[in-house]
Symmetry: C2
């Protein structure tokens, strides 16, 4: 078996991630390596922390990436605060709520779940009532469920958790960088973001932030005795049990990201370059303007999809602005449509998980993929593929409705979006 | 706080990692994103598995990267086979042996250690005797200790472990791609490599391989019940306890890397591009030729260092060919020398850990950093910096001795090395 030079096809990626990456980010990644303790590199680490604080809208001291994919960030936060037998309440409204429950159970938590129908979210009062009943140490919840395209309002839940001294951990993987995630204003204690979605940086890093309430629990865990004193010396006395994972131990990670710079892993150089450039682009665009852009393209996409004669899945009032779920028309092989979109048009959209597999398509409008030409290209291609599959659609209507949204917006904004 | 465009200084990196990366690898990383289930991407995943088998010199079915830095690979392998109370024997001869012990203890193993003086390694018979005494389920050992520059012979230990049905897990982070790591021939059951050293790919991935003996233990662990059936359905009955980590659960990871392609994480797209290109370059050079190249440059470096009047740390018979440890002359501030090398010459070398901190410098000859011009540049720069620090050296001798090694080699090989 011999291996050819590296070559890949160019795709239009309209899934809920991984999505396309700005060429400036790709270029940053191709910069030469720096040593992990090179002052030029630790300066980048510090800049990324400050940029993440701005992205998360927080004054938390700790905001840094975990070197792994999004679920690495989720596991790091949860495993650093969960001790055997801790009560964790998890409201589940889609596939990724199950992941939170799975991770908590693995680390020995006593997991309580409430579930609601896929395609909807919880009334905050329902969650609050359950907190009153269960009295958990931690509530863990997904902000944007890419599996169902729904978004859970968090502020009321956050306020109540703070009042009750419950830690609120939020999976904001699908929302960070694409719509509001107001960590401090919503009283979120620990939050995990994803890079490969609305931040539009390749998969492989998970930015997290957590406040002093979380840090207090982390530092109360028993310190690891073994090892060399210079690497592992810790001054704070401990009461809890040891954090099981070494790789995800936030007490060691913050000593590496903090001024002590105690050696832990070797920070993923090129991925950090990518994250820095991705965050610079986001903050340069401005968070508010960026969220408006995401909503504009979502509006154009939804207008086009509905004008074409297709229907959306889920409660529109609870719709995630970065993912649009479309019901697959009766009798249509959803996978055959996806394959034709990919092979003939080079456009990727997603299927879904579990009970929704084969029932809906999921279309992402995230980060750098969230562009006018991508929306219009997808609508025209999807129509052609559906007609090829003998689906009755309103020919030409989809792209016209989307165009109207853009033209109207141009008049208002005089903007080149 | 505003953030400037991305810019970094160009360094000559002569540490034990992260080291310089071939421009072709940097270029591959700047290729556009593919979706994780795009056939063009899963083809790359399969190619990388085959390339890793060749690199590890194994016919193991499983050889794939963990999405995280090297210690993520170590933790993934260990936590997937260690159950509460399992006996693990760890022969420690430097800093990274302690890391193995720390990880095993965190996961509830009963850890037995033997230690030898830093700068030396174990006589295999010593390890074998200890195995007879302890009767562990697992022996975990470092192949190349970057902290001391020593390399542990493994074949005898491997043979005995196989005979006794003990699992041998090896941290080959510092050796893979730079010197022989013969997984099958040496009877290694599970092996972890690092990308940021002799493979010369940025930090952020940890290639691992394991055989059916390890897989059997992994599959005997209790399957996670929670989650959606289509994602988590498993057919093999289980006897052991659940693997604690979700992110590092090899049973789920191999179902993602294998033909079932069950969704786990979102594979780190650009890092995988980098790994594929890095491996293609390595296999194109040829493993044997590559190892010879590493030894040549090590020889030139050592000749230069000694001719300059400096001495090496550790037992030369047990020297790691990819790391050279140099005793810091009495009365010299090692950190001041390192700083001047970096700031004036743009060259980075490393200090060491624990008892050796301030006593030795560590110079890497790894992967793409392991080039003639880097060795010669370092020798001349180091001499200049030492003279500046009033250290008595044999002026001009270091670079002359290194040159002799290269010229002689050119005559033999007629090669442009």
């Amino acid at each position: 078996m011999s291996f050819s030079r590296f070559e890949i096809p160019l795709r239009t990626i309209m899934t809920p991630g991984p999505v396309e990456v700005d060429p400036r980010v790709l270029q940053a990644m191709s910069s030469p390596i720096l040593g992990q303790f090179d002052p030029a590199f630790t300066a980048i680490m510090n800049e990324v922390m400050e940029m993440l604080r701005q992205l998360f809208r927080t004054s938390n001291r700790w905001a840094y990436p975990i070197d792994g994919t999004s679920r690495a960030g989720i596991e790091a936060l949860l495993c650093s605060i969960i001790e055997q037998g801790d009560k964790v309440l998890i409201p589940i409204y889609g596939r990724f709520g199950y992941l939170l429950a799975e991770i908590c159970e693995r680390y020995g938590a006593h997991v309580y779940t409430i579930e609601c129908e896929w395609g909807n979210v919880f009334d905050p009062k329902e969650v609050i009532n359950e907190i009153k009943k269960v009295r958990p140490k931690i509530v863990a919840i997904v902000h944007g469920e890419t599996s169902t395209g729904c978004m859970q309002p968090l502020k009321e839940i956050g306020e109540f958790c703070r009042e009750m001294d419950v830690l609120l951990v939020v999976d904001a993987v699908a929302t960070i960088g694409g719509t509001e995630v107001n960590v401090d204003e919503w009283y979120l204690d620990g939050v995990i973001g994803g890079t490969q979605k609305c931040i539009s940086v390749p998969s492989g890093m998970a930015p997290i932030t957590y406040n002093d309430r979380v840090e207090k629990v982390v530092l109360s865990r028993k310190k690891v005795e073994r090892g060399i004193q210079t690497d592992l010396d810790r001054s704070i006395p401990s009461t809890g049990k040891t954090i099981i994972s070494n790789y995800f131990d936030l007490s060691q990670l913050q000593d590496y990201w903090g001024p002590r710079r105690l050696n832990h892993h070797t920070e993923a150089t090129s991925m950090l370059y990518a994250l820095r450039e991705g965050l610079r682009i986001i903050l340069g665009e401005g968070l508010t303007k960026r969220f408006e852009r995401h909503r504009l393209h979502e509006r154009a996409l939804v207008a086009g999809i509905e004008a074409m004669g297709l229907s959306l899945f889920g409660d529109k009032k609870r719709k995630l602005p970065t993912v649009t779920c479309v019901n697959i028309p009766d009798g249509v092989d959803g996978e055959s449509v996806r394959r034709m979109l990919l092979h003939e048009f080079g456009i990727e959209i997603a299927s879904s998980f579990g009970p929704l597999h084969g029932k809906i398509w999921r279309i992402g409008t995230m980060g750098y993929s969230c562009r006018k030409e991508n929306i219009l290209r997808l609508l025209t291609a999807l129509e052609a593929v559906l007609v090829y599959h003998s689906v009755r659609v309103n020919r030409g209507e989809g792209v016209q409705e989307a165009l109207k949204v853009y033209v109207e917006q141009s008049k208002v904004m005089n903007a080149g979006w």
